[in-house]
Symmetry: C2
Subunit: 430 residues, 2 copies
């Protein structure tokens, strides 16, 4: 049942990802046609710099006028791989208005304006797919939206930024400090010249907002995500983690509250046991751990970035959207019916590893323990180490709210016998 009139696809952006999408559309044309039920044709490519040589793309397809391209009116699918908020947002809504469905790899835009884009897609009866926006090639959006549609997800815990995982893995395996590991990541092309979006957790926070929204069938805005970067993780933190049988990862964590009435989303470095499947995720790989009521614990692992892996996710969406168009239907739209409130970070409950520099004299431990007790934070273990009149106390707590831990730390800082709080790190994954 092969249709002969091709489906027309426009590509917005032709950088690392876009050029791979165009290449695979050509080299795998016969396979794509067989899987869709009709051939797909590259109908136009919008770029900023038309003078750059683009191997395998007919020059007459290339244009700098992206707006005119998406307004053509004969497009079936627009693939947006420009990134950023504008002009991507306007181009996508214009594409919907002019009859095209959209496949996007734009995490920042989906995280910030996903609801408005879904609304525009629905208004015009079109599809919005964005598997590539989270964890690159790893099938994650579709499994959450479709495979687990009959289940209740309670938790998503993931390594969703390859740059920071590369840096942390390097620090763990070589004992390097943050700057040294970052320099290596930059030299190898894993980190950008300005690594802020990665190392400060902005990239991971956008992905956490998208994942939380899909997992819990609610809307989670980027501002709802608590975000801490990993620039202050030290070699000494890794030494502490090892003593705990842990390593340190930058995690995106989305949780449903125990009473089911609210959700939280956060990004921060955390200790995680070496026995946890996420602990062995090396280099620039991504992995996302999903806990649901019926399925139990699932993990999805793979390359989180890169031209070809991201193109694989884009093309999977392209096949689905093309099939939907041939069938005259659309796939699942936004599912935000649960409309759950997002609780602030203070209500997040987890465990903590706290290193204190204290005076090396009797009674300090009793004082410190009293402060924890007064704030309702129960201590699991304490380790005391003396050295030259100074001493350090390492406290690992049972589960407590972030607000209670914050109050505890404020009070500890006021103790005469506490010289400083050397580090506070959450302990996850148990």
């Amino acid at each position: 049942m092969m249709r002969t009139r091709p489906l027309k696809v426009a590509l917005l952006g032709c950088g690392v990802v876009g050029s791979e999408v165009a290449r695979i559309m050509t080299t795998q044309a016969a396979d794509l046609a067989a899987r869709i039920g009709a051939p797909v044709e590259l109908a136009g490519v919008a770029v900023r710099r038309p003078d750059r040589v683009r191997e395998g793309i007919a020059p007459e397809l290339v244009t700098t006028d992206a707006t005119a391209l998406v307004k053509r009116g004969d497009l079936d699918v627009v693939v947006e791989v420009i990134g950023g908020i504008e002009p991507a947002r306007t181009l996508i809504t214009t594409a919907f208005a002019h009859g095209a469905s959209v496949v996007s790899a734009n995490k920042a835009l989906i995280a910030q304006d996903g609801a408005a884009l879904y609304a525009a897609a629905e208004e015009h009866g079109k599809d919005l797919y964005y598997e590539a926006a989270v964890a690159g090639a790893i099938p994650l959006i579709r499994p959450l939206r479709e495979s687990l549609a009959g289940d209740k997800v309670n938790r998503v815990l993931g390594i969703v930024n390859g740059t920071t995982n590369f840096i942390l893995d390097k620090m763990d395996s070589t004992g390097a400090g943050y700057q040294e590991a970052l320099d290596e990541a930059t030299a190898l092309g894993y980190a950008e010249a300005d690594p802020t979006a990665d190392v400060e957790g902005f990239d991971a926070a956008a992905k956490a907002a998208i994942l939380a929204g899909i997992a819990f069938h609610t809307r989670v805005r980027l501002d709802d995500v608590h975000r801490e970067g990993m620039t202050e993780v030290t070699a000494s933190d890794f030494a502490s983690a090892r003593e705990m049988g842990c390593t340190i990862k930058l995690l995106a964590i989305c949780e449903r509250a125990a009473d089911g009435g609210s959700v939280t989303a956060r990004v921060h470095p955390a200790m995680i046991p070496l026995t946890h499947p996420l602990a062995s995720v090396r280099g620039a790989y991504n992995a996302v751990f999903v806990e649901s009521e019926a399925a139990g614990q699932l993990m999805f692992y793979g390359p989180g970035a890169g031209g070809a892996p991201t193109a694989s996710a884009v093309l999977g969406d392209l096949v689905a959207v093309c099939r939907n168009r041939l069938a005259g239907t659309t796939g699942p739209g936004e599912s935000a019916y649960a409309a759950l409130p997002v609780s602030p970070m203070g209500e997040v409950v987890t465990r903590y590893h706290i290193s204190l520099d204290v005076a090396d004299k009797p009674g300090v431990l009793a004082q410190v323990a009293t402060v924890f007790a007064e704030h309702g934070v129960s201590i699991d273990t304490v380790r005391q180490q003396g050295k030259d009149g100074e001493a350090s106390l390492v406290v690992v707590t049972h589960r407590a709210s972030d607000a209670a831990l914050g109050g505890t730390v404020d009070a500890l800082r006021k103790l005469d016998t506490v010289r400083g709080v050397a580090s506070i790190m959450r302990v996850e994954g148990e």
Copy 2:
């Protein structure tokens, strides 16, 4: 846009999986309705023993006449969780003929008769979904069929049987022998009273046939899958594996030949490096590693069996099929357009670990090495150990065809100086 007339679902079988499906359909009814766009109603449950108490299922829904149930004509979806070939096959085709789509968890039936069932579904314009048939709760069929639809899968390497993984993990971690580990698996309910289907690899072979067909867009019959069980794996094999930095897993391996013109599918125990993500899959968990051209290496991990996990996969399919019915469409059907031949086991190329008992005298190694060379099998490493006039030789080869290795072993057995071939094991995952 909620439709009020409910979609009618019939359940064939109400054992461990079926009762969980019914339970979740009740407890998560509001969520399922919101995700589908219409409520779903349990319209009938066919069982063999109607006298058993079935908590939460209205007695008037229960029938022993499965045929009459699927012929009702008002059903939207039939969920088949009986297992086995008949009566499941006839009930499914009857369901299609009477207007229902089908969700099945039946690996044996899909592996044996998938093509005929797909044809019946297509003839009547209905859906056939079976995510639960392979690797329980792990989303795998949908990612392969849909997420990777724009990519080219070259290899699927998986632990798809929880019972055997539990036994092998136990042997590895405790040094237990096969029988002792099997006894523990039986006592804990991981192995059935007759464990043949699991330990002889029949269950994994059915899953390998399904995975190969979907991954390579071709038809792979159960008979096309080379199958070796794991009952002859010994504690001594695990010791050898550890010396290689490996462990032993029962693997299902589906590969596209290097020239792309054929595929192979096989199930057998194999050594796999401890650094490979599959090596750390513990207990009864399943995991499937997928290598594709653009996405690279992906892994999907989770519980491979059990009532609730399998029900999660069934319900995800149920939501998809119900959404398709509301939209008046169907999902992807069989994709076998590639029509690639399945090569016999002799053409499979991999590495081998061979232990030989040999006479402890000069020249034996030279003789053995000559036999390998004569059969075109290149040796990577040899380790020689003498003990009391006897000696053992452990040979690890480079990549060679199964046929060449078989010829080599036959010739080795004829050498006077070779007292016996203690073990032959494939080495995978590099």
